[in-house]
């Protein structure tokens, strides 16, 4: 009963409901406008909402997250520019549909399927999280350490072409997280004897720099790109259309939840894997993939929205973010004095159920806003970049300043923004940096706890890993990620499967 009440908290306060609606609405646009990303929006928002109560702040962010993952599909369909990385796969079949004059139908199916995928993700989150957190209570410090490493490695290996660059980015993030006085021994780390470094580097400043400023600088290359307008007809899809694709959407939603729940991997990877899956299971598509196949829309869109619910599972139960946005949300919870992890689920179950309720509400709003207001939408998305870019930069500065009212944070933000700009250009992924910063403390604390409990003996430490089934599984997973990148593995895979499938 308490659970139901906690889920319904959103409805008891009109202000919260309004914030979820507002967040979802804004999220759709943020996701849709190329150059604005949800990661960017949420990281800038943290700095503005940190003086709020935790419920309103979370309501707004959850709405933006849910809306943003969906919003990317709109520009993918209408302009062939995925508004967000999770909509890359959507563009492959969505744009050809729009070219044939079926943009309305494509948007309609996408919206309903996103809602469906989102719903499945949230249901799985609600059902699985309590079990995972109960299970997580038996985790040893070394398991947390391994999980943190696994998360950083996963995002590093799956999100960019080069695992080496991904690992570098992750390690760099951990190092940034270590700057300042060590909380246990009070030793200075990477402070270079500068007083301003003693408190560490504000991770919000780093985030805003990497996702706001560097993105805006990147966009300067495409200032003059013009949008092409599409004709839009009937939007709400027929029931029979939905029914036809229901079995596929169930499969791809499961892919989405699982990929989303893996630490470090989010909607973009889920969408691409689901697209790949749809291609393999659909033997005789009515229209070939890549030329406007409905399956090619259904699969990525259910998967990326299902991944939202999935991404919250490790975040709420283990304190390990499921993707870059949840990494930032963990930061937001920290700021509000909450400590995500198994104890949060036990001490403050209401918080968890509130988030579930907010996600559900956001999902419904997404459906409503998704099926309406397309006309205004096309106008807003065509807002020239010559205005958007200066605004993003301005918001980034305001955001970085607002957290501590310190001009130093603005400089950190600019520094990391410029650095991030180069990282983008040379193919270093930025996701692992943020994950590294967020997980740095957890990694450090748990390593020290683990090694102290083994009396500083590395042999006993590894013995502990090998004798515990959980630690061993995690350890093997970490090793596998490395092995999967070596030439020997690739050769073996080619020999076994004939031809690499993906």
């Amino acid at each position: 009963m308490d659970t139901v009440l906690a889920i319904l908290t959103v409805f008891t306060q009109p202000q919260l409901l309004l914030l979820v609606a507002l967040g979802t609405f804004a999220g759709i646009y943020i996701g849709a406008i190329p150059g604005l990303s949800v990661t960017m929006a949420v990281s800038i928002l943290i700095s503005f909402t940190f003086s709020w109560d935790v419920y309103p702040a979370i309501s707004l962010m959850v709405g933006i997250y849910m809306g943003g993952v969906y919003g990317g599909s709109r520009t993918a369909i209408l302009l062939n520019i995925p508004g967000s990385p999770s909509a890359i796969a959507t563009a492959m079949d969505g744009y050809p549909m729009a070219q044939k004059g079926q943009a309305g139908q494509a948007i309609g199916v996408t919206t309903v399927m996103s809602f469906f995928g989102g719903l499945i993700g949230i249901v799985v989150l609600a059902l699985a999280a309590p079990f995972v957190s109960a299970f997580a209570l038996s985790f040893q410090p070394r398991d947390y350490m391994l999980l943190a490493i696994l998360g950083i490695l996963l995002v590093g290996s799956l999100s960019s072409g080069s695992l080496v660059k991904g690992i570098f980015a992750g390690a760099f993030g951990i190092a940034i997280g270590a700057v300042g006085r060590d909380p246990l021994t009070f030793a200075e780390r990477f402070t270079f004897d500068l007083r301003l470094m003693e408190g560490g580097i504000s991770f919000i400043a780093v985030m805003i720099g990497m996702f706001g400023v560097s993105e805006a600088l990147q966009q300067l290359h495409n200032v003059d790109k013009r949008a092409v307008r599409q004709k839009i007809d009937k939007i709400i899809p027929s029931f029979s259309t939905i029914k036809t694709y229901l079995p596929l959407s169930l499969q791809t939603s499961s892919i989405g939840v699982i990929i989303g729940a893996l630490p470090g991997t989010g909607g973009d990877i889920a969408a691409l894997m689901a697209y790949d899956h749809a291609k393999r299971v659909t033997k005789n598509p009515e229209i070939p993939f890549g030329q406007g196949a409905m399956e090619g829309l259904v699969a990525p869109e259910t998967a990326n929205n299902a991944a939202v619910g999935g991404a919250f599972i490790p975040m709420m139960t283990l304190g390990i973010p499921g993707d870059a946005v949840t990494a930032i949300m963990i930061g937001a919870l920290f700021i509000h004095g909450l400590n995500p992890g198994p104890m949060l689920m036990i001490d403050q179950p209401d918080m968890f159920w509130f988030i579930v309720g907010a996600l559900l509400t956001a999902n419904v709003f997404m459906l409503i806003f998704g099926l309406t207001g397309i006309k205004i939408f096309t106008k807003i998305v065509e807002m020239p970049r010559s205005i958007i870019i200066p605004l993003i930069l301005l918001l980034s500065i305001v955001g970085a300043y607002a957290v501590n009212n310190a001009i130093t944070d603005v400089y950190w933000m600019l520094g990391f923004g410029i650095f991030g700009y180069f990282m983008r250009h040379y193919g270093y992924p930025l996701g692992p940096v943020i994950l590294g910063i967020i997980l740095s403390r957890m990694l450090d604390d748990n390593w020290r706890r683990a090694i102290i409990s083994e009396r500083e003996d590395l042999g006993r430490f590894f013995e502990g890993i090998l004798t515990s089934p959980l630690s061993l599984t995690l350890f093997v997973a970490v090793i596998l990620i490395f092995v999967s990148q070596t030439p020997i593995w690739r050769a073996a895979k080619t020999r076994l499967l004939g031809k690499a499938t993906s």
Binding site: S159, V223, Y401
Partner: protein
């Protein structure tokens, strides 16, 4: 062009450059220099991390920093060696594709923004910044530029200063009176 299904695109990067092809077998201008810089910086950080607590204890304050900087050094070195073996992409130059004048100009604008924020106050600095930035990018008339800049500044200021109650440097403008005015307007609205 279909994006690669294994996801060669950057996780968080947007989107407009999703459509650019990645050149895994060629290096971009400045890429090698960047990799060498990262390697040297990593080595320096490793040395610095060693200075935290040395090899005294596995649980020392410096052990995780040492491990991470060691990983950074090794990976940066691998990247450098791999990059050095690649040939340069023909037709790309540092000045055109990596650091065009526009990007440098904007970095400059941002630094100036940071310098002026405290003494001049947020409203004036932001106004200057928006006018310069929009003028540079849109290359349209002054009326257009100034009216857009003014409009967006008003919206941003009302949303953040009044609704979100973010503290911004007031500088030389009598901001407090304005705010009281808006507070009265929004009385009973957002907390």
């Amino acid at each position: 062009m279909q994006p690669d299904v294994t996801g060669t695109t950057d996780h968080n990067s947007s989107t407009a450059h999703v459509q650019q092809t990645n050149h895994p077998l060629q290096r971009r201008p400045g890429e090698l220099g960047f990799a060498i810089f990262l390697t040297l910086a990593s080595v320096f950080l490793l040395y610095n991390a060693y200075g935290i607590s040395g090899f005294r204890a596995l649980s020392g304050a410096g052990s995780v920093p040492m491990a991470t900087t060691l990983v950074m050094t090794i990976t940066a070195l691998i990247v450098t060696l791999r990059t050095a073996r690649l040939g340069r992409i023909a037709g790309e130059t540092l000045a055109k594709d990596i650091l065009p004048v526009m990007v440098i100009a904007f970095i400059g604008l941002l630094i100036v923004f940071g310098l002026l924020l405290k003494p001049l106050g947020f409203v004036l600095t932001a106004a200057l910044f928006l006018i310069c930035a929009i003028k540079l990018l849109s290359r349209k008339g002054w009326v257009y530029t100034i009216s857009i800049a003014f409009l967006s500044l008003v919206i941003i200021w009302v949303v953040f200063r009044v609704v979100f109650t973010v503290l911004l440097p007031a500088g030389i403008l009598p901001e407090a009176e304005f705010i009281q005015f808006f507070r009265n307007l929004f009385a009973g609205g957002a907390s």
